[in-house]
């Protein structure tokens, strides 16, 4: 579209792996990679065949130092992911090779790509629609397998298909309204009744509600569930934290481009990303409320999606415990009764009445099986017993969620108009709004402010 620089990035995830890929994209992808590549066969920059694998060596273009043995493939635009010329170099896994190749490329005037820049180019060059581009962005910042899967599904267009089919239903409804608006009472036409419209609208609202509900799960998958661990000193908060972190150490990921709060720990629990808040507090004083004071604790609880309240099975419920329990009354809470290996003293009737049985979990953190039951309890609590996490039509994007909500709200307003038997030309306005909102998700409706959204989310510079 506009004369672009040639960019490069390591395309494979960091960490130990059998293979690493460096991707170069831009008008000079081949020209700038060529000085690094020493093919085994006698091929040149001119007679290289696109989409063929070439075996060879990569050397540093200045020092001539051997970097690695590689496979190289050239994809000529527009038949590539970005629609630009693309070169991919497959080398040995591990960070050393890919990093050295990157460094070598930089000496050729190739710029290191920003996060999501390949996708940005693919989008700008018309290769991806907005939903797909957003899915790729989500993929890049996906924290866990489950959210990774949803992003992939979205890339394949499951959400788009669902939205498209809803839009078609809506279009049929609109058409029926238009017919009765368009023709005067003098023409003998059969038109849809208010009852018929109400029924069809109700069905659409149901479908929208379902998708919006999936957004809740989607948000969890996207952002991680914000969790606070709370309890008296010595109840075992640090052990819980360490057990959770140790168990997940290998899959705690660094998300590029996000600044990590020093006192947050991210972990992955059966595919659900969790963010443990204010873990510093736990480590330092063991007593969050004492350290923070009542007001700040309250604020912290406010922000949390989930509270894990720890109690000691070997002591009675204290006044402080009850105070904390009152504070988190309206929160999604798991009450963990730890130290079941000791002589039990705590009785369930010591707890406030509103505590439900299924919120309670007895375990011993000394015992490996305790952690399993904890994970199970958390999973079912987060998804409220429903296995939504595996649905393909999942909404993970805030923009999509908002558009769905607008569509639902408009249809509900339309339903009110239908109940009052208002003239259809008024009610039609609500249906049109709903239609447009859905259109925004799949890019069928283009609003002028889309450009602001794109520029803020895809970091398109000057």
């Amino acid at each position: 579209m506009i004369k672009e620089e040639t960019i490069a990035a390591i395309a494979t995830a960091p960490g130990e792996a059998g293979i690493g890929i460096v991707r170069v994209s831009g008008p000079e992808a081949l020209r700038k990679t060529w000085p690094l590549f020493k093919p085994l066969k006698e091929i040149t920059e001119e007679n290289i065949i696109p989409k063929h694998m070439y075996y060879g060596k990569v050397v540093h273009p200045v020092t001539e130092e051997l970097i690695d043995e590689v496979m190289m493939v050239y994809m000529k635009g527009p038949q590539s992911y970005t629609r630009e010329d693309v070169v991919e170099i497959q080398c040995h896994g591990g960070s050393l090779s890919v990093r050295s190749i990157m460094k070598a490329l930089l000496t050729q005037g190739v710029r290191s790509a920003e996060p999501g820049e390949f996708t940005k180019r693919a989008f700008l060059n018309g290769r991806l629609d907005l939903t797909q581009a957003e899915a790729v962005m989500d993929l890049i910042s996906a924290r866990t397998e489950a959210s990774h899967r949803t992003a992939l599904d979205q890339l394949e267009g499951h959400l788009s298909r669902k939205v498209r089919s809803m839009r078609e239903e809506m279009l049929a409804l609109l058409a029926e309204m238009e017919v009765s608006i368009d023709f005067s009472e003098e023409e003998d036409l059969e038109v849809e009744t208010y009852e018929g419209l109400a029924f069809k609208t109700g069905r659409l609202i149901e479908q929208l509600e379902k998708l919006i509900a999936s957004a809740k799960t989607g948000k969890i998958l996207r952002e991680g569930i914000k969790t606070v661990i709370v309890g008296k000193p010595n109840v075992g908060k640090s052990s819980l934290l360490n057990a959770l972190l140790r168990e997940n150490r290998a899959i705690v990921t660094d998300v590029p481009g996000t600044t990590r709060d020093a006192i947050e720990e991210q972990l992955n629990l059966r595919g659900i990303p969790m963010v443990l808040m204010d873990t510093a507090g736990i480590r330092e004083t063991e007593d969050l409320v004492e350290q923070l004071g009542v007001e700040r604790s309250r604020q912290l609880f406010q922000k949390a999606d989930l509270v894990m309240m720890m109690l000691d099975a070997s002591t009675h419920v204290s006044k402080e415990d009850v105070e904390i329990l009152e504070m988190i009354k309206d929160k999604k809470t798991l009450i963990i009764i730890n130290k079941t290996d000791l002589t039990p003293k705590l009785a369930e009737n010591e707890l406030p009445l509103w505590v439900k049985r299924d919120q309670l979990l007895r375990l011993s953190l000394l015992d490996e099986s305790g952690l399993d039951s904890l994970e199970e309890a958390l999973t079912s609590l987060i998804f409220e017993g429903e296995k939504r996490a595996v649905e393909k039509e999942m909404v993970t994007n805030l923009r999509h969620q908002q558009a769905l909500e607008t569509a639902r709200d408009s249809l509900k307003e339309g339903l009110v108009g239908i109940e009052q038997q208002l003239p259809l030309d008024f009610i039609q306005v609500d249906y049109q709004t709903a239609m447009d909102s859905l259109g925004e998700i799949i890019g069928e409706t283009v609003r002028e402010d889309l450009v602001d959204y794109i520029f803020s989310h895809f970091c398109i510079g000057k």
């Binding site: 506009i2 700008l124 608006i181 283009v446 889309l450």
Partner: protein, 635 residues
């Protein structure tokens, strides 16, 4: 032989509904104008249905009137029946329609033309256009007269190479036995103007003396008639009834047995007809499960026995027409005075036009009406008015006058034609307008008269009437808001109307928000009712109060729409260099040369994804330019 016949600022070719408005607008804007017609006896001819207005079309007439056009004024003087349609629906789709006295209508329009300063009305067939480079500079008539002008408006209606069909019979003819224009098409084709062939049709006219009205349902006009023109507050005209009846099973059989002889079905006619105004053959074929169809019988005038059989246009052979009409309820002994026919004619692909209705490739050549592929008197008048205005502005070197889709049905009409094009004669419908609640027929004056005033088209009288009305509405709205009645004052009325009572006071405005209450209901409880408030003011107040919520919602979408319309596309943009665009989009954009992103988004073949690409492209261009400027300042 050619001779120098005269020099004008503007020449209008054709004095149908488009040509009349174009000629009047140009002359009223002070330009020396020539209006040419193939027959002075067919000025403003209502060649088909003797009626003006209807759903969607009524809005156009109101807008033409608000802009200082003539159609509304003429029909208000010459109608024989008037009816507001769709009153059971919302005020946005209330549509006024009036049956005209066909001869009175023509006569009245001709008189206005004849008395218009700066305007010459002349009978002549235009056979050629005078061009200079890519500019049009005049016309040549069949009798050799060469008229020079700064701009030409083509409003040739259905006359170009027109051909009439009745069954196997067909011959070259204009409508109603008038001469066709045989020569201009070829000249236009030589100018590389893309022509196409459309068709339309009309039913028979029958003799009222041979109709059995006892078998039909009488259709009267409204007791209180609503004028088309904002310059008229009330009307006093004696109305004549129309009649409603149905076809029979026999009608269906006759048509089915003779369908192969219908010119449209025998393959004689290859051109495209109006989907929304189908012939009776079409209706029988397409809705074969419907045993009978309704039809209306409408008088063609006060002093004639000719009646128009609405809903029964046909291209069946004359003898079949007779038995067909005679199979219909009430027409058993009917005598046909003029048979129905289909007519085929040349028109242009309107995507060759700019939004100003000037040709993209031929400067100073403006086009309007059926020549642009539309259908209907009202659509024609609207385009004629706009073409006339823009021809004048062009000669003055001024920016064109363009109404967008959120400003007027006229804007919708022209944008649809020019941007999307049409594959059949284009008819206005309310569903074509996205912002109906804003584009009501009752507020056309408020939307447009100010603009007409600025153009010099609205008279002093018209302008002040509008200002006065706006002020009255504002004052009354304020009064209704400030008049708060105590519960005992308003509750009896609320109870009577079956709506919930109140415990604290209720303003008259809030009372009007309730669907059960109307302005006239308030008279009994209003402590200071305003005397003699014009009905148009009352309507405004009611609509603005009752539907405020919805109108506000629509205004929000209008804002979104305008933002897209105001993202202008630079004239020198090279779409082939924008690699993100699909090939088809590049071609279509290059061909259509849209002026804004909004217009681009309505071109068929340009997808929303292409529009996103353009949006990003424009923004990048803007940022690059800004960056360059900053850099420039820095250095």
């Amino acid at each position: 032989m050619r001779y120098e016949a005269g020099t004008y600022d503007i020449i209008v070719v054709g004095a149908g509904h488009a040509g009349c408005e174009a000629g009047l607008a140009a002359a009223r804007m002070g330009k020396k104008t020539l209006l040419l017609t193939i027959s002075l006896d067919s000025v403003a001819l209502l060649a088909c249905n003797p009626s003006i207005g209807g759903t969607g079309k009524g809005h156009l007439v109101r807008e033409v009137d608000a802009l200082g056009g003539q159609m509304g004024l003429i029909i208000d003087e010459t109608f024989i029946q008037s009816k507001m349609l769709n009153t059971a629906k919302g005020p946005a789709v209330h549509s006024l329609r009036a049956q005209a006295d066909k001869w009175d209508y023509q006569q009245a329009m001709k008189q206005v033309l004849e008395n218009q300063e700066n305007l010459d009305l002349k009978q002549a067939e235009v056979v050629d256009l005078v061009t200079d480079d890519q500019k049009v500079t005049g016309v040549v008539t069949r009798t050799g007269g060469l008229y020079r002008s700064k701009a030409v408006v083509l409003a040739t209606g259905v006359y170009l190479k027109s051909k009439v069909f009745m069954g196997e019979v067909n011959y070259e003819s204009g409508p109603s036995g008038l001469f066709p224009a045989q020569f201009l098409s070829e000249k236009l084709a030589n100018m590389n103007i893309i022509l196409r062939r459309f068709k339309t049709g009309t039913p028979a006219r029958v003799d009222a003396r041979t109709v059995d009205f006892s078998k039909m349902e009488r259709q009267d006009g409204d007791e209180v008639m609503t004028p088309f023109s904002f310059q008229h507050e009330t009307l006093d005209i004696e109305q004549i009834p129309c009649w409603l009846s149905r076809t029979t099973a026999a009608t269906k059989e006759i048509i089915e047995a003779n369908i192969h002889r219908s010119a449209m079905y025998s393959g004689e006619i290859k051109s495209t007809g109006v989907r929304y105004c189908p012939s009776i053959e079409d209706k029988v074929v397409k809705f074969s499960d419907k045993p009978t169809h309704q039809f209306f019988l409408e008088p063609e005038g006060k002093s004639t026995t000719e009646m128009y059989v609405q809903g029964m246009s046909t291209s069946l052979p004359e003898e079949v027409q007779l038995i067909m009409y005679r199979s219909m309820l009430g027409l058993e002994n009917v005598r046909i005075m003029r048979p129905g026919y289909a007519i085929e004619y040349d028109c242009i692909d309107p995507t060759q036009l700019q939004l100003s209705l000037e040709m993209k490739r031929w400067e100073n050549l403006f086009c309007a009406g059926q020549f642009n592929g539309s259908s209907g008197y009202e659509e024609a008048a609207a385009q004629g008015l706009m073409a006339g205005i823009n021809a004048v502005l062009k000669t003055e070197g001024k920016e064109p006058f363009i109404l967008d889709r959120s400003e007027a049905y006229i804007g919708v009409l022209i944008d649809d034609l020019v941007t999307k094009g049409t594959n059949e004669p284009y008819r206005m419908m309310t569903s074509r307008a996205e912002y109906r609640l804003v584009l009501r027929q009752d507020n056309a004056d408020r939307r447009l008269t100010e603009k007409a005033w600025a153009l010099g088209l609205a008279s002093q009288e018209r302008y002040h009437a509008m200002k006065d009305k706006v002020e009255k509405v504002e004052t009354e709205l304020k009064r209704l808001q400030n008049t708060v009645l105590p519960p005992e004052g308003i509750n009896p009325l609320l109870e009577e109307k079956g709506t919930s009572t109140v415990k604290t006071g209720l303003s008259l405005m809030d009372a009007l928000k309730r669907p059960e209450l109307h302005y006239k209901d308030l008279q009994s409880v209003d402590p200071n009712p305003v005397e003699d408030l014009p009905p148009s003011v009352i309507t405004q107040c009611e609509v603005q109060i009752k539907y405020k919520g919805y109108i506000d919602k629509q205004m929000k979408t209008v804002e979104q729409f305008r933002k897209m319309e105001h993202r202008m596309l630079p004239r020198d943009i090279d779409y082939h260099l924008i690699s993100g665009l699909r090939i088809e989009a590049r071609q279509k954009l290059t061909q259509n040369q849209p002026i804004s992103l909004g217009q681009a988004s309505r071109i068929s073949g340009v997808s929303p994804a292409d529009i996103s690409v353009l949006l990003v492209y424009l923004e990048q261009q803007r940022r690059q330019k800004e960056g360059a400027e900053e850099k420039g300042r820095g250095e």
